[in-house]
């Protein structure tokens, strides 16, 4: 079977700096994969290249959404990447602070709604129905993620852990088949991290999404991932199961060595 995400020989140059150098990563359907590496290794740049925020210098990004043909994402703008079914969260939380929690999720529904300006002004029954359904769907997502009690609060007023979860809820609202999570556990306390662990597994099992995550919390990564990719200085240095990675001398040298107590 085709991998749902197939990134081959991805290179990203910033001026003279090679942020990513010939990185190849494949992701199977239903997999939870992790992308790890020391700070500045190019992990977020990798996400940005896939999601169209940066256009990679060379290399190819292909996706095969379930039940659809393989297609290339290279050169697509971020909004089209999202339309094709890849959603992401951000390392430094980027919620829409002028909006309520529900509206943040409704923004995620945006690309699945069809009503345009004229319909918004005239509000024919079809638009009202669609809007009502969107609100309902969004509320349902909030319930699943466990944020229903905040529904009408302003997004900025949420506790930190809840803001991270809201980012996931918002991404989920775009109906993705692949979810890219950029350090979802950053700044969370152990309790919140545990809940996040459960949530990610639940998402994979019940929402039919595959997940690629960047994370520094090794305990989370090792317990959660089916497959781990390691990058260092923009180069991929290893991949394998958590057990393989733990035993890989290159990885230990580059990365785990300095944080072995976490692993």
């Amino acid at each position: 079977m085709e991998p749902i995400l197939n990134v081959t020989n991805l290179t990203m140059n910033f001026g003279g700096l090679k942020a990513l150098d010939d990185v190849t990563i494949r992701l199977e359907k239903g997999q939870i994969a992790a992308l790890i590496g020391p700070n500045g290794a190019g992990k977020t740049t990798f996400f940005n290249c896939i999601t169209g925020i940066y256009e990679p210098t060379t290399g190819e990004v292909q996706i095969t959404p379930p039940g659809k043909n393989t297609q290339s994402l290279k050169g697509l703008k971020p909004n089209y990447v999202t339309e094709r079914g890849i959603a992401r969260t951000f390392q430094n939380i980027r919620l829409f602070h002028g909006m309520t929690v529900l509206e943040n999720v409704l923004i995620g529904r945006h690309c699945r709604l069809s009503s345009g300006i004229i319909k918004a002004m005239l509000q024919p029954p079809s638009q009202k129905k669609e809007e009502k359904k969107a609100v309902f769907d969004s509320y349902e997502i909030l319930e699943k993620i466990g944020l229903a009690k905040y529904v009408n609060d302003m997004a900025v007023n949420l506790p930190y852990g809840a803001q991270r979860r809201l980012e996931i809820a918002r991404a989920l609202a775009t109906d993705p088949f692949l979810l890219l999570l950029d350090e979802p556990a950053a700044g969370m306390n152990p309790q919140e991290t545990k809940e996040l662990d459960d949530l990610i597994l639940w998402l994979r099992d019940n929402e039919n999404v595959s997940i690629l995550l960047i994370e520094h919390d090794m305990k989370l990564v090792m317990s959660l991932s089916d497959w781990i990719h390691v990058v260092d200085y923009g180069k991929k240095i290893a991949e394998g199961t958590p057990a393989d990675i733990k035993a890989n001398p290159d990885v230990i040298k580059a990365y785990l060595g300095e944080e072995s107590d976490d692993a």
């Binding site: 910033f14 977020t44 925020i53």
Partner: protein, 327 residues
């Protein structure tokens, strides 16, 4: 897209080059006069544009009130010169004192404006700071208009006609010569300030990375104030010089001059000091030719069109660096 741009660029250059050569052959003196006129104009733009570009380099804000600082410089010079003139002081002393007061007061205004309208908004969205800047500009214009007069005021000639220059005065007047020479001197001094002094180094460090500069023990607030002060000083020099050149000023002169200088700064690459100078000269000279050979009433339209074109085709300007958005 790339090839279209290059092709278009070459075509435009070719057409302009053709007309330039033709006009040069028809009437070389007129061509040369327009060039010098443009150089004068560009020098003034450069003196103002420096303030925009330095402030933008450090706090990424378009200081809308900068044109008003320039106007206040000219206005202060006018008031000081008139008072001293009526008291019957020596012309040379008047000229020097008018310059000094204009510079000191402009610096004080620039400093104060930053403290009131921009400092409290340093962590606010950029839109807020920009609106605050527009408000400040509006306030200063009306303040001068209400406290002084909405009419144009005749400006005393502070710069005498140099005797030794008389044979060439029909090509370029003493005032224009002074403007160009003063600008060159100011640029050199500024270059030394930025390159070699302590505060200049602190400015460059702050422009690159505010947080890092603060961690290294640089007082960022002081550096920002210093930037406003230096920018205001050069603007004031520009204000006094242009007032001598044109011979009259009012409360509104800062608006258009400020806009043009901003366009020049963007043209050269905002944030870059050599860029501001280069952009100013290019804008001044091309404006001069445009008004000399085409329609003078569409002078401002020409400048704005240049702005739009440069922003669409090369938003980083002639010398600017391309800055990618950080995620």
């Amino acid at each position: 897209m790339r090839w279209i741009s290059i092709g278009l660029g070459l075509a435009v250059t070719g057409v302009i080059g053709f007309f330039a050569v033709r006009e040069l052959l028809i009437d070389p003196l007129y061509f040369f006069e327009l060039f010098l006129g443009g150089l004068t104009r560009g020098s003034i733009y450069a003196l103002i544009a420096l303030g925009y570009t330095m402030v933008y380099g450090i706090i990424q804000l378009i200081n809308f009130a900068h044109g008003e600082i320039y106007m206040i410089g000219a206005m202060t010079a006018l008031i000081v010169a008139s008072v001293l003139g009526l008291w019957g002081w020596n012309t040379a002393v008047i000229a020097i004192l008018a310059f000094v007061f204009a510079i000191v007061y402009s610096c004080a205004y620039g400093f104060t404006v930053e403290k009131i309208a921009y400092k409290p908004l340093r962590h606010a969205p950029r839109l807020s700071a920009l609106i605050s800047a527009i408000g400040m500009s509006l306030f200063l214009q009306n303040y001068v208009m209400l406290a002084q007069t909405p009419e144009y005021l005749p400006f005393r000639t502070l710069i005498p006609d140099f005797h030794f220059w008389e044979p060439y005065a029909h090509i370029i007047t003493s005032v224009e010569l002074t403007i160009i020479i003063t600008t060159v001197i100011v640029m050199i001094l500024l270059g030394i300030l930025i390159k070699f002094t302590r505060i200049g180094k602190a400015m460059r460090a702050t422009a690159q990375d505010k947080v890092m500069a603060a961690l290294l023990g640089i007082n960022v607030n002081n550096v920002i104030s210093a930037t406003f002060v230096v920018g205001s000083a050069t603007a004031a020099i520009g204000g006094v010089l242009i007032a001598c050149h044109v011979g009259q000023i009012n409360f509104f002169i800062g608006f258009l001059a400020g806009l043009k200088a901003f366009i020049a700064a963007v043209l050269g690459g905002i944030g870059s000091i050599p860029g501001a100078v280069l952009g100013s000269l290019v804008l001044g000279i091309s404006e001069s030719y445009f008004t000399g050979y085409f329609w003078s009433e569409y002078e401002d339209v020409f400048a704005f069109s240049i702005l739009v074109l440069i922003l669409i085709f090369r938003p980083s300007g002639i010398l600017g660096k391309h800055d990618a958005q950080k995620v």
